[in-house]
């Protein structure tokens, strides 16, 4: 098989295909900005390019979501990832043309697959870290191995489970060898929440040790300048950034405002240029303001209620199914997400264009509201009297999904109809996380967000023994299907495997899916050149202030 056909196969297998033509062009013409815009081929970008960008200025952003650490290999917060994307680069990056998400080279200039288990990346020349060190093949190898090495304990190490080794071929060529074909690799490298393929400075990590997350050094368009606890994070322009002419801004001031109401007020008054996220109830108000532009589409996510399969009463699949069919999704969407979401029938979400079934509502697949069915399942369940499962919740706003107590409160009257009266236990976020992780609950609700591929939506969450299978779901049949799909490069076959897997998952109902939510970014009209990417990113590379 030729090189190209392997790549074709992989490209087909991806949730969102690569725009190959644009990709070739980029390889031919180097890293010019013009090539970049052709590559994305997007009206959005061209519009942004229409007016001549103005240089200078500092953008002021209200940051509502939590920032845990600025070490990309250890973060599990999207509030951090949005910042990290402006400080670091990966081998690949995510692009969006208004319809499809694609993966395009970033630090890599060329990406080849000599066979279906080997990926060769040719790196850009002359890229420097913010501390002056060269970002060469050695640096990339070290960074990838930092994620993989279990001694480091990166929460994203699972993405490189199948990575057999990384070789330096020459100063600007790296080879990644895998044990088996790995359809998920592009997402593993770029995935918003994971960013396993983000390249960090070795010298800086060794210099700062654990404090690297407070002193990040990358190759991105902005350098880290300072972090004042609970107050602000500042970034400044990287004059040596490899995309010529970028960035336009002199600096970024990120104001850490935990109270969304305060951030919305600042946004409405024009005191800040943008907001990283907004709770759903403010969206109509923000959209109505003529000075603001609200970006937001249904992203790769799903909210759900997890039920503990390991212990009574939810060790009984009939009772779980009763719950799954007793939930009125339209009420959840209207009241929980204020209309800014769509009902979920299965976990696979609309941005996974090649896997999401647009007609799923009429297909009869998945879970949906059907009280009659719920009653039938309830009648077949082991416990017939009233059930009082422990439902753990934690306070927090619902900007990015199922956190907070809102969904639980909405679910109470729905579940009461089938004789389930959950006992809500309100916990501190840290205690909640601990109890969820140790399986000390009967029910909890949450959302998995910023997913690009069915693999990250299904595998780590519901495959038995995986790190996020908190409910203890264990179905050998499901496990086999999702594992097989991971190594399958043929897209049609992969889709079939995922549908089968989902059907089993939805029928066993370790979870009741609720909704796919929109995720919002709000920018003032004076902010120009922003390119929206539906994986909860706020990239400032091409942004300027008019």
């Amino acid at each position: 098989m030729s090189e190209q056909s392997h790549k074709d196969k992989l490209a087909e297998a991806l949730a969102a295909r690569m725009n190959r033509r644009g990709f070739m062009k980029l390889m031919g013409s180097g890293a010019g900005l013009a090539a970049g815009s052709t590559l994305m081929g997007s009206a959005l970008v061209q519009n942004a390019m229409a007016a001549a960008p103005k240089r200078g200025g500092t953008i002021k952003l209200a940051w509502v979501d939590a920032v845990d650490t600025l070490d990309p290999h250890f973060t599990s917060s999207l509030g951090s990832v949005k910042i990290l994307n402006n400080v670091f680069n990966g081998l690949l990056k995510v692009a969006y043309d208004g319809k499809k998400v694609s993966f395009v080279p970033d630090l890599a200039e060329k990406w080849e697959m000599p066979d279906d288990k080997t990926h060769v990346f040719k790196l850009r020349k002359g890229v420097k870290f913010h501390n002056g060190d060269p970002c060469d093949a050695e640096a990339v190898k070290w960074s990838l191995e930092r994620v993989k090495n279990p001694a480091n304990g990166s929460p994203h190490a699972w993405k490189f489970d199948q990575l057999a080794g990384v070789d330096v071929i020459d100063d600007h060529t790296v080879r990644m060898r895998f044990n088996k074909p790995y359809a998920f690799l592009p997402v593993a490298l770029t995935g918003s929440t994971g960013r396993a393929g983000t390249i960090v400075s070795k010298r800086a990590v060794e210099q700062y040790g654990k404090a690297f997350g407070r002193n990040p050094v990358g190759t991105g368009p902005f350098k880290f300048a300072g972090w004042r606890e609970n107050e602000s994070i500042t970034l400044e322009r990287n004059p040596d950034y490899f995309e010529p002419g970028l960035p336009y801004l002199d600096g970024v001031q990120i104001l850490l405002i935990k109270e969304p109401t305060a951030a919305v007020a600042a946004m409405m008054a024009g005191q800040v240029d943008g907001m990283s996220l907004s709770p759903f109830q403010f969206i109509p108000q923000l959209k109505a303001n003529p000075n603001l532009k609200v970006y937001g589409e249904v992203e790769g996510n799903y909210s759900y209620v997890g039920m503990n399969n390991r212990r009574a009463p939810f060790d009984d699949p009939m009772l779980r199914k009763a719950v799954a069919f007793a939930i009125d999704r339209s009420a959840i969407i209207k009241q929980g997400y204020f209309g800014e979401a769509i009902p979920a029938y299965t976990p696979i979400s609309p941005p996974m264009t090649d896997f999401y079934d647009k007609n799923i509502a009429r297909s009869g697949r998945g879970q949906y509201f059907d009280l009659k069915k719920a009653m039938e399942y309830r009648k077949k369940s082991k416990v017939q009297g009233e059930v009082n499962p422990v439902y753990i919740v934690a306070q927090g706003f619902t900007g990015s999904g199922g956190s907070g107590t809102r969904n639980s409160q909405l679910l109470l009257p729905m579940l009461e109809k089938i004789g389930i009266k959950p006992k809500i236990e309100l916990l501190d976020r840290a205690v909640w996380t601990k109890r969820r992780n140790s399986g000390d609950f009967d029910m909890y609700d949450e959302a998995w967000i910023a997913d690009l591929d069915p693999d990250e939506t299904l595998y780590p969450e519901w495959h038995s023994g995986q790190s996020w299978d908190f409910v203890g779901y264990n179905s050998p049949e499901f496990d086999k299907l999702v594992s097989d799909a991971e190594d399958t490069l043929n897209q049609a076959v992969r889709k079939k495997l995922y549908y089968k897997a989902e059907d089993i998952l939805m029928a066993d109902a370790p979870l009741a899916v609720l909704a796919h939510m929109k995720v919002f970014k709000i920018l003032h009209k004076r902010v120009q050149g922003f390119q929206y990417i539906p994986v909860d990113l706020l990239n400032l590379h091409s942004v300027w202030l008019s």
Binding site: P260, Q285, Q335, Q395, Q409, L412, L427
Partner: protein, 294 residues
């Protein structure tokens, strides 16, 4: 003999009047506070009859509505009736306020009495424990205990009561130390009156007024702390109708539906003012240090 029997209760009754009721009646602002408190108590006790809706019934079609004929004080984001929630919330606030103070008072006074009367090593140990409790601000102590005990109405009462044990114990001990060396105590002891009777008949009545003054003030603090805990998400559990929770929930809608936080906020403010007026009045009336001025 029979005459004397008749006179004694009468004399005691008028003495009570003279000692407690009259000084209090003279405090105008205290009476105003008492009147407001009485309204709250009536509203709380009669909540089941006064409420127009089930306080936790959701009507999603009627969410976020302003005051209207159907919902007198409007609805919250779940379409729950704020007026009904307010009434039941008053019940909860008063129960938690009084119960936590009562519990804190009983335990605190017991410790204070024990320490003051026994003296020696027991006193030293008890007072060091009290010092430990007093070292933390009430809210911090209550938060720590909520974290240990878990959330819920009962646990809020225990946590708050615990944070009140320190002040009551310290105050009682101080007063007991003053009282126990008085000649009449010595006289009672020498006459062979039992310890329990001495405490009950001679010590307690002489330390009770400052304790009651303190208790009156603490109730408002307890209600405020409880609302604070619930507001922070570590108090009672939703959807319990609780003012702190209601304020917290309304916070996210403050720009579009200010009444969600406003209604319980105003109710809480008025109750606290009333309790403080009453507390100040009690102090002015009974605290030995201010009694002369009254």
């Amino acid at each position: 003999m029979s005459e004397a029997m008749n006179i004694a209760p009468l004399a005691r009754g008028s003495q009570w009047k003279q000692r407690f009721l009259q000084p209090l009646l003279r405090q105008r602002s205290a009476m105003a506070g008492l009147a407001i408190l009485a309204i709250y108590v009536v509203a709380a006790v009669c909540a089941p009859w006064l409420a127009t809706h089930d306080p936790t019934a959701q009507d999603l079609m009627a969410a976020l509505q302003g005051p209207s004929a159907a919902h007198w004080l409007g609805t919250d984001s779940y379409g729950q009736d704020l007026y009904s929630r307010l009434l039941y919330g008053a019940q909860l606030a008063l129960i938690i306020g009084f119960a936590s103070v009562a519990l804190g008072l009983v335990v605190g006074v017991a410790i204070g009495l024990a320490a003051g009367l026994m003296g020696g090593r027991t006193e030293w140990v008890l007072m060091r424990i009290v010092d430990g409790l007093l070292a933390f601000p009430e809210l911090i102590l209550a938060m720590a205990f909520m974290a240990v005990l878990g959330l819920g109405t009962e646990n809020v009462v225990y946590a708050l009561a615990l944070s009140f044990v320190g002040p009551f114990a310290r105050m009682t001990r101080g007063d007991v130390l003053q009282v126990k060396n008085q000649p009449y105590i010595e006289a009672a002891r020498l006459m062979g009156v039992g310890t329990a009777a001495v405490i009950w008949r001679h010590v307690l009545p002489n330390v009770v007024s400052p304790i009651l003054v303190q208790a009156g003030m603490r109730i408002s603090i307890a209600i405020l702390l409880e609302s604070g805990l619930s507001f922070l998400g570590i108090g009672v559990v939703p959807p319990t109708p609780d003012w702190g929770l209601m304020i917290a929930e309304g916070r996210a809608f403050i720009t579009m539906a200010p009444w969600i936080s406003g209604v319980p906020g105003v109710a809480l403010a008025i109750l606290l003012v009333a309790l403080n007026l009453l507390g100040d009045g009690l102090r002015d009336a009974f605290d030995p240090t201010t009694q002369k001025d009254a």
